[in-house]
């Protein structure tokens, strides 16, 4: 892992028996620690850019179609 290894942290809470049913990183305080940004390769970056373009283009088409449908008699 590249972020603090929260799996190994001891919380030392008095409700130990109750909490032992949970994994340490399942506890809200542990799960609230933000994860670091993903290190993306060239292919992943290209795919994300392709998705940006796809979403933009297709959204324009769908929104136009949607509003054209709204103005059509129902």
């Amino acid at each position: 892992m590249h972020w603090p290894d929260i799996h190994r942290r001891s919380f030392g809470h008095p409700d130990e028996e109750l909490v032992s049913a949970l994994e340490p990183d399942q506890i809200v305080a542990a799960a609230s620690h933000p994860l670091p940004r993903a290190r993306l390769g060239r292919a992943a970056n290209a795919a994300l850019w392709a998705v940006r373009v796809f979403v933009l283009l297709i959204t324009v088409l769908v929104v136009y179609t949607f509003f054209a449908g709204l103005s059509a008699p129902s």
Binding site: H13, A21, A29, A31, R37, L48, T65, S74
Partner: protein
């Protein structure tokens, strides 16, 4: 005493740990059926929740326009595709203990986090409008006024969120979701030929006739009826809220598989139930609005079958109201950083989560009650909207499921990747084809 260095334990932790204690006890005693009963939920709800109002109408339209030949096996295959991607979402939740929106926000940055959540809120609002329409339509068959039907839909969401426990919410939704199998009873009342069903499943024939535009639209609509962004957000976040861990992945897969089987059964049953309209050459072009399908089916399958169809629409809309509102609430809570996003929290502890949950239902209900709203156009575009937004959702899912830093030993295998990328490609092509076809039709180029 609590150590000053220890993080505070919340009521959410305590509620979840009580549920987990039962899981640990069942596992240690080797009680497999109890373990499954305790761990089943997010998968069944994601799948049966997706058999929502517009989906059932889309399946019915497929059966009514084209018969069972192509669409029966096609729908079964789309559910298998749904299983592949939903299993990844469940696995991500069990391993990372973080929701889908939360992971996108943290791993890909605020731009993609907000965009994904924003997309989801818009799509979910449109979809929720269609759920309220389905409830209103189904209840109208029994003479219930629209205002009462809409009020019931909103009250159901309010009631479901009032318990402060994920377990209670999940079991309530699951109890309601099982009534999705009403459509199987309708299919039986339609007296289908088992030979014809077997032939259709084995050969995918007879192939649909008609225009390319109609076929493309209904194909995309059926894909949008089984593989959608809200399902990913919902199952991953619900798995986290339920407290699934990597040890529960086997049961999580079974949960997803059971949901897939039940939803595919109900979806295929709806195609079969509406097939008599195809056989008797009934014009189905105007049936998606009003109580069309139920009334059109009455002379062909009898009054009980038609009444059950209408009741099924109410159920489909009601379950989807719960699950889609919940997926919105999870997404909003997750991208808002410190805001609580769990049914194991009280309204005071997670105001944004509950406000998003109930607010979406109220907004959808209000839209349906506005006089003159073109509800048919909204209903027809809901699944299309989900289909065109799905490629981005699938890309993030696949990137995260292949992230070894995130998933460790639970990273995607070769089969999951092969199927996952093939599904993403198919959904992208179908979504683009449907959007372009609809656009060309809207500007008068056919």
């Amino acid at each position: 005493m609590t150590s000053t260095a220890s993080p505070a334990l919340t009521a959410e932790d305590l509620s979840r740990s009580r549920d987990r204690q039962r899981v640990v006890a069942a596992r240690s005693k080797g009680r497999r059926s109890t373990l499954l009963w305790l761990l089943v939920g997010p998968g069944v709800l994601a799948m049966l929740g997706e058999n929502d109002g517009p989906s059932m109408l889309s399946y019915a339209a497929s059966g009514a326009q084209y018969g069972i030949g192509f669409f029966l096996p096609f729908i079964a295959v789309t559910f298998l595709a749904a299983y592949v991607v939903q299993e990844m979402a469940m696995r991500l939740g069990a391993v990372t203990h973080r929701g889908y929106g939360e992971l996108i926000f943290q791993r890909f940055g605020p731009f993609w986090g907000w965009l994904s959540a924003g997309d989801l809120v818009v799509t979910n609002l449109v979809t929720l409008v269609t759920e309220v329409i389905a409830i209103r339509t189904g209840m109208a068959y029994f003479g219930v006024p629209p205002i009462v039907a809409v009020g019931c839909a909103v009250l159901l969401v309010a009631f479901s969120t009032s318990g402060g426990r994920y377990w209670r919410w999940e079991r309530l939704a699951m109890g309601l979701a099982l009534f999705n199998l009403i459509f199987v009873a309708v299919a039986v009342l339609a007296r289908p030929s088992p030979v014809a069903i077997g032939h259709a499943m084995a050969t995918w024939t007879p192939l649909p006739q008609g225009t390319w535009k109609d076929f493309t639209m209904i194909l995309a609509s059926n894909i949008g009826a089984t593989v959608t962004p809200w399902m990913l957000f919902f199952q991953q976040s619900a798995s986290v809220d339920k407290g699934l861990t990597p040890r529960d992945i086997g049961q999580g897969r079974l949960d997803t598989l059971i949901g897939t089987g039940l939803a595919a059964l109900a979806g295929c049953a709806t195609v079969v139930a509406a097939a008599p309209l195809f056989t008797h050459h009934v014009d189905t072009s105007q049936l998606q609005g009003g109580t069309g399908f139920a009334e059109a089916l009455r002379p062909l399958i009898g009054a009980p079958g038609a009444a059950l169809f209408a009741l099924g629409l109410v159920e489909a809309g009601a379950v989807a109201m719960l699950t889609i509102s919940a997926s919105t609430a999870y997404a909003v809570g997750e991208v808002m950083g410190g805001a609580g996003h769990s049914f194991n929290r009280s309204i005071r502890e997670a105001p944004a989560f509950y406000a998003a949950n109930l607010g979406m239902a109220v907004a959808a209900g209000a839209v349906v009650l506005i006089p003159g709203m073109p509800l048919l156009a909204i209903a027809l575009n809901a699944n299309l909207l989900a289909t065109v937004l799905m490629p981005a959702a699938l890309l993030f899912l696949l990137l995260m499921a292949n992230d070894k830093d995130l998933m460790g030993a639970q990273v995607n295998g070769r089969w999951a990747n092969g199927l996952g990328w093939a599904i993403a490609a198919a959904v992208t092509v179908a979504g683009a084809a449907a959007a372009i076809t609809a656009f060309l039709s809207a500007i008068g180029v056919s």
